[in-house]
């Protein structure tokens, strides 16, 4: 499902002393099947943007389109529940939403709410548990007995079991150990490819944005600050620093190396080994 924002404003507590404009004339288009990273400093409007995607809030002005669903101001969406089935949101620290007695029941909670037949639910529970790497022995345990990382996986499985077409990830790896972070991100990427999902990833990690996304959206103070492919966006180091964002380490390193060798070194998706070869070649040139 493709996602379009047309001049979306969102104002919190309008007409009160606490009025606050969280989104300001936001427009963008994300094609179906794209993987978009949304980056921005705290308070740039990322969370507000996310809540529009499944109709938790409606724009104050403007229009949001998600596939065939349209969200407009002052008009209650008729198919809010159908939209929520299509758009799965993994909120920050999703393990806080666990409540059932067993892991199995918690994963089944979403599909059950959306009226999936019982047999199908069983199938989906097993499937999503496997997808997030939860052992079958854990299914009958209470989610509150598990470790933090396992609880996170249960919560994610609960969202995948609904089989959304759009997957929204709000800092899904915050607070996990480095290995867990990579595992979870790789898993999301695999599911994104396998099921051809439209994925939005809110992240503070420029490395993740570079590694997984094909499109980057930079927000600042509720406005769209920059948009483009990761390489386009991360090539503009100064502009990013203006909004307290950094470029990925790879880009920082390339910039430094370019200075050092007096020759421009561009990012072409090379991995560390390829980069080492390039550097060796450059060093060789200089020595001669």
């Amino acid at each position: 499902m493709d996602i379009t924002f047309e001049k979306v404003d969102y104002t919190y507590q309008a007409n009160s002393p606490f009025e606050h404009k969280a989104l300001d004339s936001m427009s963008f288009h994300l094609p179906s099947g794209s993987f978009t990273a949304i980056v921005g400093h705290t308070g740039s409007g990322k969370s507000t943007l996310i809540q529009h995607l499944n109709g938790l809030i409606r724009p104050t002005n403007g229009k949001v389109r998600i596939g065939d669903y349209v969200l407009e101001p002052k008009k209650k969406p008729k198919h809010a529940k159908a939209l929520r089935e299509k758009v799965g949101i993994v909120f920050q620290y999703p393990e806080h939403q666990l409540f059932e007695e067993t892991v199995e029941k918690d994963i089944a909670f979403g599909p059950r709410n959306f009226g999936v037949p019982e047999q199908e639910i069983q199938k989906r529970v097993a499937e999503s548990a496997r997808a997030v790497g939860l052992g079958e022995d854990l299914l009958k345990r209470s989610p509150f007995e598990l470790s933090g990382g396992q609880m996170r996986r249960v919560a994610i499985a609960g969202i995948l079991a609904v089989r959304p077409r759009v997957l929204v990830l709000d800092e899904p790896t915050a607070g996990l150990d480095p290995r867990g972070q990579k595992e979870i991100m790789d898993m999301f990427y695999r599911i994104h490819k396998e099921q051809q999902l439209t994925t939005l990833l809110v992240t503070h990690s420029m490395e993740d944005a570079l590694a997984y996304a094909d499109h980057v959206l930079v927000l600042d103070k509720g406005k769209k600050y920059m948009e483009g492919t990761p390489v386009e966006v991360f090539s503009q180091r100064e502009a990013l620093q203006q909004v307290q964002l950094d470029v990925p380490e790879m880009f920082q390193f390339l910039l430094k190396a370019s200075d050092q060798f007096g020759k421009p070194l561009a990012y072409q998706g090379q991995d560390v080994e390829r980069l080492a070869e390039q550097l060796a070649a450059l060093a060789g040139d200089r020595d001669e």
Partner: protein
């Protein structure tokens, strides 16, 4: 989240009322609430009204803000008035509404009770509008101080109060987050049959309790790590002191109350 009700909302304007000793404010309100029930004629009610309105003006809190915040209470006041209008049967019949007689005594009673109600709410809401929760807790601790002699855990009570006040916004935020998360998983909190909606509360309450307990444990640990050992021998950063403006406010209140008590009908 809920900006309709101002009860418990602090509006900093640094007026003279804001700077008053919270204990004095609480004492005045305490006695005001008692003595307003002694008023029984135009002059005594006028004096109490004067005091409440005068205090309101002195707080410098925008009037629009106070009026808007009292909206839910307005309903109660109007309701009380109408109820009295139809139920009380004193005095003589003034006119008929929908065939029901309206007595003069009912009009009077309704007006008086609504006024009293309004004044009570207005003055008590001024306390939270002009006093931070921390100040209120300090005042409670100080005012209840004498009870310590009877082994009443005054400090603990005050601590409990300030902790719960501190965590109200946190819990509200948490509630919103969890309800968003569960709504995204297809829970419908707003529509559907009553039984369904009650059941929809479980996925909200369980995570909320889990996180509240976790928070409590963490807070206890953090307090102990910083050497907290209860109120014994503990000193305060903000010492409460009664100064001139507090004395002036007290005198003002006493004079008005005394005048009201003198002018009320004793027959």
């Amino acid at each position: 989240m809920n900006n309709l009700l101002i009860v418990g909302q602090y509006v900093p304007t640094n007026s003279i009322v804001h700077r008053m000793d919270p204990r004095v404010k609480m004492l005045i309100i305490f006695f005001y609430v008692i003595f307003i029930f002694f008023a029984n004629n135009v002059i005594s009610y006028g004096l109490f009204t004067l005091f409440a309105l005068g205090s309101t003006i002195l707080t410098k809190v925008p009037r629009r803000f106070i009026a808007k915040g009292l909206t839910p209470v307005w309903f109660l006041i109007v309701f009380t008035f109408i109820l009295h209008l139809f139920v009380t049967r004193e005095g003589f019949v003034l006119f008929h509404v929908f065939g029901l007689p309206i007595y003069s005594g009912a009009l009077e009673q309704g007006a008086v009770i609504s006024l009293r109600f309004f004044l009570l709410i207005l003055l008590t809401s001024l306390l939270t509008l002009t006093t931070t929760p921390i100040e209120i807790t300090d005042a409670v601790e100080s005012l209840l101080g004498p009870l310590r002699r009877f082994k009443f855990p005054v400090h603990e009570l005050a601590l409990m109060m300030s902790i719960s006040l501190r965590f109200i916004p946190t819990l509200l935020q948490e509630t919103e987050k969890i309800s968003n998360a569960q709504a995204s998983r297809g829970v419908d909190f707003r529509t559907g049959p009553f039984r369904e909606r009650v059941r929809a509360v479980i996925p909200l309450l369980v995570p909320l309790f889990v996180s509240a307990f976790k928070r409590a444990e963490e807070l206890a640990m953090a307090m102990e790590a910083r050497g907290y050992r209860g109120g014994e021998g503990r000193t305060k950063l903000r010492e409460l002191r009664v100064v001139k403006r507090d004395v002036a406010a007290l005198v003002c209140f006493i004079v008005i109350t005394a005048a009201a008590l003198i002018t009320r009908d004793y027959s």
